[in-house]
Structures are given as C-alpha cells and as structure tokens.
Amino acid sequence: MTQTDNSVTARSPRRTRWSATDLGLIAVFAALVAASALVAAIPVGGLGVPITVQTLAVMLTGLALGPGRAFAAVGLYVLLGIAGLPIFSGGRSGPGILATPSAGYIIAFPLAAAAAGWLAVVVLRRTAARSGKIRGVLLFAAAMVSSIIFVHTLGVLGMMVNAKLSLSAAFLADLPFYPGDIIKNVLAVSIALSLHKAFPDLLLRRVRKADVRL
C-alpha cells in the first residue's frame, strides 16, 4: 500500500500507525455500517424474506479489513451513534440505546468485527496455497464463531440486564435471529472473497507480507 507498511510489524499492533489509506478505509467502512442500518431490508430467496443488512456489514467489515481496522471502524460507528447521530437501526440514536434491550447487540458489534477479522487473517494465512472452497468454508466458520460468541452472547446478556428477562427467556428471544445470521454470514463470506479478489492489497497482501517476515 504505502512504504510505511514496511515498518509495520504484525507482532506489535500498538506501535502501528495507520496510513492515510487506512484512515480512509476506517472512516468509510464506519459510514458503510451506518448507511446499512438506514437502508431498507433486502429480500432473499424465492419468498423474498427480508433481512437487514447491518450485521452483514459489521461481519464484512471484519472479514475485509482485519482485526485492528475493523474494530476501529465499527467502534467509531457505535461511538458516534451513542453520541447522538441517528445511525442505529430504525433511525434511533443517543446514549439511551444503552438502556434498551438491544444494547448488548450494539456493544457486541465492534468485538464481533474484530474477532471475525482476527480469525479471517488466520484463515487467509493458513489457506494461502489451498483452493478457494476450503477458504470459504473456513471463513464462514470464522464469521459464525465470532457472531455466536459475541453478538448472540452479549445480545442475550443485554436482554437479561435491561429487560430483566431470565436466561432461558432471553435465549428464546434471541433464537429467531440465528437463521438470518447464517444467511448473512454465507453472503458476507462470498462478498468478502470477491472483495479480496478485486482488491488484493486490502488485506491479502498484508497477510502475505507479514507471513514472509515471520
């Protein structure tokens, strides 16, 4: 990407300074998550079951940018939504969102994006020589694991804290989101693979570069 990348080491992300392109990616992907929360749901399949694009955009940010930049992008989105921009789903905004039952999902977004990004980097590094199919399956597993560990767990926790639901009731309330999540993660992986094919310097070349040095 830029020459400064050569000074970047994969081992010490804390010392990494993001380049101007990284800043652009972080800002525009944060805007992408915001815009995805505002557009209407898209129809899927023959029956046209509508799914919202927001969690798709969150997971894709992780798969496309890798852990650090994805956390920054989705974290920026959450921060500005809490600060009062009407960018949460349904045009909601402000710190009041933290008191609603959906608070857990919102807090989970940056963590899930970072986890998906971290796992994606591991998968991309390990499957450098393999066929695209294995890579796709493993990326799907990465996205699923991160969304179960973070989005669903924190979502259930949020409903327990803010709506005082019992664990089993909160779990049941969260259950209907699973089928949509599976569809979204399949879609996210297929789009992420196309993105990496179209823009190899987005994440793939970084991963390989780090690989050579390790």
Binding site: G24, V39, G45, P101
Partner: protein
C-alpha cells in the same frame, strides 16, 4: 437523505435553561439516570423520575411531539417486555422495568435534543485528548469522524443506485447483486479518500517516533 439532515438529527434550537446548561452536566444527567435504572426498586419512584424527565424535556421547548417521536420506535418492544414480565413477575415489577428503560431514553433525548450534533461530536473528539500519551492522535480522530460523516450520504446513495440497477436487470431478489456492488464502491471510495488525504499531506502519522 443528505448529510445536512443527518447533522440536524434530533436537535431542536432554543435558548432554554436546558440548552444553556453545559454539555458535561447533561451528560451527567444521562449517566445518573442510567445508574438509577439499576437502583430504583419501586415502580412509583420510577414513574416519578420519568415524569420529572419529561418535565425537563418539555422545559427545553422541544415540544411533546418530539418527545413522542423519541420514544415511539421503542414502544413495541417495551410493550412486549411489559406484558411478558407482567405474566412472569407481576404488574409492579413489569411497570418498574419498562419505566426505568423509558427514564433512560427520555434523559438521553434531553441531551440530544438540546445539544447541536456538532457540539456532541466535538465532545467525542475531545475524548481522545487524555489518550494522547498512549499514542492517540486527536486530530486524526477528528478527521476520521469528519470523513465518516461525509461518506454516509454517498454510501446510502450507492445502495439506492445499486438497487435500481439490480431491478433493471431483474435481479432485485438476488442479495449478492444488491450488496456486492455497494461494497466494491465503498472500498474504491475509501481508497480515493485515502489518496486524496495523502496528496494533501493529511492523515499520515507523524514520523516522530515518540
């Protein structure tokens, strides 16, 4: 949707006492209500606090219709929770849970209705200040916020455009055709933005390795 309407979000201009009180005070109010929602154990107290918060909101001159608009998206969920908890835990507890959430939401709308979004964003950007010693860069942080704000209308427009072209090709039921072009546009737009920043000497980290 334009970027302008986004910045006007829920702000209602005015000169009331609430408008003139400092940002940190209103923030403390929101934080206090958040804490209180865990401590209030009696639904009557919760109802009293909610009435007080609604009073403060109306004092700001934002109007009752704004108040309704701030709460309305939540009502179906709160109704469902209220009914479920009524069945599970009884009416007083259910009322307390629902009222406590409403207290927090109304308190938060007091903050967002009486503070211009620009002031709120400046408040967020200044949060980076104390982290300067850990490598945070408040200027780059503020710049990133500004780029994000500018990009939201562009990407919302990309979604609309892609939807139109998918419909023209008879692909409006194909989620990949509806979403992938938006992401390609996004990445390309982000890289153009990065190049434009670099060309102007903006956004690059200082080489001082302090």
């Amino acid at each position: 949707m334009s970027g302008h309407s986004l910045l006007l979000a829920s702000y209602v201009p005015g000169t009331s006492v609430v408008h003139r009180s400092p940002l940190w005070l209103k923030f403390l109010l929101v934080l206090g209500c958040g804490m209180a929602s865990f401590l209030i154990a009696d639904w009557a107290v919760a109802a009293g606090v909610l009435a007080l918060m609604c009073g403060v909101f109306l004092l700001s001159g934002a109007g009752a219709s704004r108040l309704v608009r701030a709460v309305r998206p939540l009502l179906p969920v709160l109704l469902a929770i209220g009914l479920f908890q009524w069945w599970q835990l009884g009416a007083p507890t259910a009322a307390r849970i629902v009222l406590n959430v409403l207290v927090c939401v109304v308190a938060a709308s007091i903050l967002t209705a009486t503070t211009p979004v620009q002031a709120l964003l400046d408040g967020v950007a200044s949060l980076a200040g104390p982290f300067r010693r850990f490598g945070a860069d408040p200027e780059r942080f503020a710049l990133t916020i500004a780029i994000m704000l500018r990009s939201i209308p562009f990407i919302a427009g990309a979604y609309a455009g892609v939807r139109d072209s998918a419909r023209a090709r008879g692909l409006e039921r194909n989620p990949r055709a509806l979403v992938l072009p938006v992401f390609i546009t996004t990445v390309a737009f982000a890289r153009q933005t990065g190049e434009a920043l670099a060309a102007r000497g903006l956004g690059e980290a200082d080489d001082l390795d302090d």
